[in-house]
């Protein structure tokens, strides 16, 4: 007998599996972790929305049996804000690519964080514009190649977790498509919090980033993660030199500031009592 995993429970039937992602694309791994985290929540799936922008990563909602919304490039958080305000009880999950989240969508990102809008963000960060074929994204590391940075990227890159932290998110964590248990765990923890939360899921794109930067094999991308991402507390102890080549993961922020939705519902309450 063929077994099913929890993941399969939430995949849409007859929706053209296998999915469109390239062989070995990390996006599938993240989607699996996301689904396991949702499953752990034990919520009614009618009360879950998964919202995305445009990009390879943003194809996620297509496959999932929830209320799903595939919006315009970079604007997912703004759409999600509307959904959340209309349905304050709904678990509103927003999945975005790095370009989607902090490239074209950067303003919505920092404002949703500032408002502490009660949205659960998972950024699939492959350090590149995958869907359009490998142009530099705001997280492409300096010196790395992209189809619009053939001579090596001269721009600096955003640290998505740091941006989320400094603009006010309640919960911020990072794991990779290799560190799949941590990833699931962080996503799950973020779902249990109010306010704006961000989990950065570092992932590998063999087809574009990989091809241009000697990580063409899916396994190579994950090897890189395995060897170079270390827990934050260990990373903190590294020398400055080592810090240049290793990357921290773990939980960066875990606070409980009041979210926008709570505040607004309180406002309604008080205005109505004032009547």
């Amino acid at each position: 007998m063929i077994e099913q995993s929890v993941v399969h429970k939430y995949l849409r039937k007859n929706k053209k599996f296998p999915h469109i992602w390239c062989p070995g694309c990390g996006h599938g791994v993240i989607m699996g972790s996301l689904l396991r985290a949702i499953d752990k929540m034990g919520v009614d799936r009618n009360n879950v929305a998964v919202i995305s922008g445009i990009g390879c990563s943003s194809r996620t909602p297509t496959y999932l049996d929830f209320n799903t919304l595939h919006t315009t490039h970079g604007r997912a958080l703004a759409f999600a804000t509307g959904v959340k305000l209309a349905r304050p009880d709904m678990l509103v999950i927003v999945v975005m690519g790095d370009g989607d989240a902090v490239g074209i969508g950067g303003n919505h990102f920092i404002h949703a964080a500032r408002r502490n809008m009660d949205l659960k963000v998972v950024v699939y960060n492959n350090n590149i514009y995958g869907m359009t074929g490998g142009q530099a994204s705001p997280t492409t590391p300096s010196g790395k190649k992209a189809t619009t940075a053939r001579y090596g990227n001269i721009e600096r890159s955003f640290d998505i977790c740091d941006l989320a932290r400094s603009t006010g998110a309640n919960y911020v964590a990072r794991a990779t498509s290799y560190h799949v248990k941590q990833l699931e765990n962080y996503i799950y923890k973020s779902f249990n919090k109010k306010g704006f939360t961000v989990v950065e899921a570092v992932t590998h794109c063999p087809t574009t980033y990989g091809r241009l930067n000697s990580l063409k094999e899916p396994v190579a991308g994950m090897e890189f993660q395995k060897n170079n991402f270390i827990m934050k507390n260990l990373w903190d102890k590294l020398s400055d030199e080592e810090k240049q080549v290793k990357f921290p993961m773990g939980e960066f922020v875990d606070v409980d500031k009041e979210g926008f939705v709570t505040k607004y519902l309180n406002l309604i309450e008080s205005v109505r009592q004032g009547d």
Binding site: P61, T81, A86, H108
Partner: protein
Amino acid sequence: MIKLLQGNEACAYAALAAGVRFFAGYPITPSTEIAEIMSMELPKRGGKFIQMEDELASMAAIIGGSLGGLKSMTATSGPGLSLMQENIGYASITETPTLIVNVQRGGPSTGLPTMPSQSDIMAAKWGSHGDHPIIVTYPHTVPEIYNETIRSVYLSEKYRVPVILLLDEVIGHMREKIEIPDENTIEKFDRKVPTVPNDWFFPFEGNLEGVPPFASFGEGYRYHVTGLVHDVDGFPTSKHSQIERFMNRLIGKIDNNVNDILKWEEYNMEDAEYAILAAGCIARTARDTIKVLREKGIKIGLIRPVTIWPFMEQPLINATKKIKKLFVPELNLGMLSLEANRVLKGKLEVCPYNKINGEIIYPSELEKFIEEEI
């Protein structure tokens, strides 16, 4: 209750009366009053107001709010309308009811922020890339703003289409007497919701009129919404036959229901030999002008589109059958007159009168122009 209200105020109160419970917006002259009133009034009714970071986000948020089940709107002016265009197209293709109020000011660009203009008529229809269905309405008095706001919300919900309610700086900012109906007497309309079990629900399968029932998020119909061309099941398709079926239904919704959507008024047209075609504040000028011209013995009437898009093709043809000349005064370089020319196919002469200096057209100048042309 009789009140003296600004056009923008009337618009906001009408939206509330029509059941709008979500507003997302970004301030811009001359539309800001609408947002300001909504921020005060919505919480009283349990509704939600949010000032977003820009107009792109505002349009996105109201689509989200609408999908979440709330009647939703935004308000803006020219530059904001341009910024909303991408997401207006998204509302079109996903068939999400949304009301966009656009209070016109002088363009292009920042242009003349506090001066009247009617130069967004074309942008309202054609601004978003690609063929997309849209309805545009344009009242001319404060009481009509009230009614048209309600009708626009209604059309938007009925046809699952973004509706742009055009106002202009003159009618948006002037105060006028209005008898406000009791909110309870206002016709209630609710979205048509699916009546089949979950598994049988095809979210984008049109009924006879072409409009699918609308399941709000969270109601148990877990379907997919995307700005990609999609099949009846909501999933992206690249099959040519499915694409064609989808596009035809999308556009057909409007094309097949023009009679229901179109609204226009005729004044003094019974015996008219000449006619004016005008909308918004310029229709007010035209009506005054007609009074004077008629006193002088000139048989002239007014045709006033209230629904601007779809354009009143057949009604205009019918109304002008006995007309010798059609005058089209506008605060732009000729937008309604382009349409009139197209529709009338040379059957009668179309005389545009275009004013773009930031001022309304005065009855005296229109009178002079018409007298010279006759």
